[in-house]
Symmetry: C2
Subunit: 126 residues, 2 copies
Amino acid sequence: MKYCSISEASAKFDIPETTIRYYEKKGLLPLIERDAAGRRLFSENQIALLETVICLKNTHMPLSGIKQYIDWVIEGDSTIELRLQMMKNHKQAVLAEMSLMTESLKGIDVKNERYTNRKNKGEVGQ
Amino acid sequence: MKYCSISEASAKFDIPETTIRYYEKKGLLPLIERDAAGRRLFSENQIALLETVICLKNTHMPLSGIKQYIDWVIEGDSTIELRLQMMKNHKQAVLAEMSLMTESLKGIDVKNERYTNRKNKGEVGQ
DNA sequence: ATACAACTTAAACCATGGTTTAAGTCAACA
DNA sequence: TGTTGACTTAAACCATGGTTTAAGTTGTAT
């Protein structure tokens, strides 16, 4: 199996090494191996897990939630139903958040149009 | 003109009164009037401004950015171009963020499908 | 008139998600 | 051999976005 260093993992996902160490300390990246000098060695499995962590982070799951998910991964196949349910709930939350963002963007656009109109008409206000 | 109390504003937008006071303190809600007892009175204009603040917050603009925007609103029509440009940039940032969220959701889905397959096939792994 | 709910303030406190610092270890190259 | 650069650690520090606390004022209902 191919291993990679923390600097390679950092470059691969464009996140600081400090953040990777922080995630490990928080329990989001368990079971990372070390070389003779104590340096982290990321297996392909660990890289896949880190990618999952990043996907969950990108969709605004709190680190505590990500940790719960990772704990279930470590626990094994008995937790697959729990994980699927968690992901289902999370996906709904993300879609709701994106809806809110879309609605809020619309609200902002409405004001922008007012500005643009005012610019041409010389009105005053917010 | 119709005025409303902090509790009415709080109810209208479903945000805590403490948060509204915090926003005022941070300069996001300037020029709020007071009654004889020193209580906040929100004019329709203020309510519209609060709605803008909330739209910007919902789309993850930092409070410091929202304050800049509000400062420009207060400054008057000479800042309309600046505001339009800011909103244009912000909108691009929000669309990029939503893209990343959508991509990350896909990444999560791929893993979920693997789980579902494994559940049926009895494989092992993340 | 008195009790209650709703309001006021400034300041301390809190959670989240990192980042920075200080001190040290190690491998490889000149 | 020594110095350079990448790595290690624990712990302190930081920014953001509020929330809570403590102490006090006000308006309305009984």
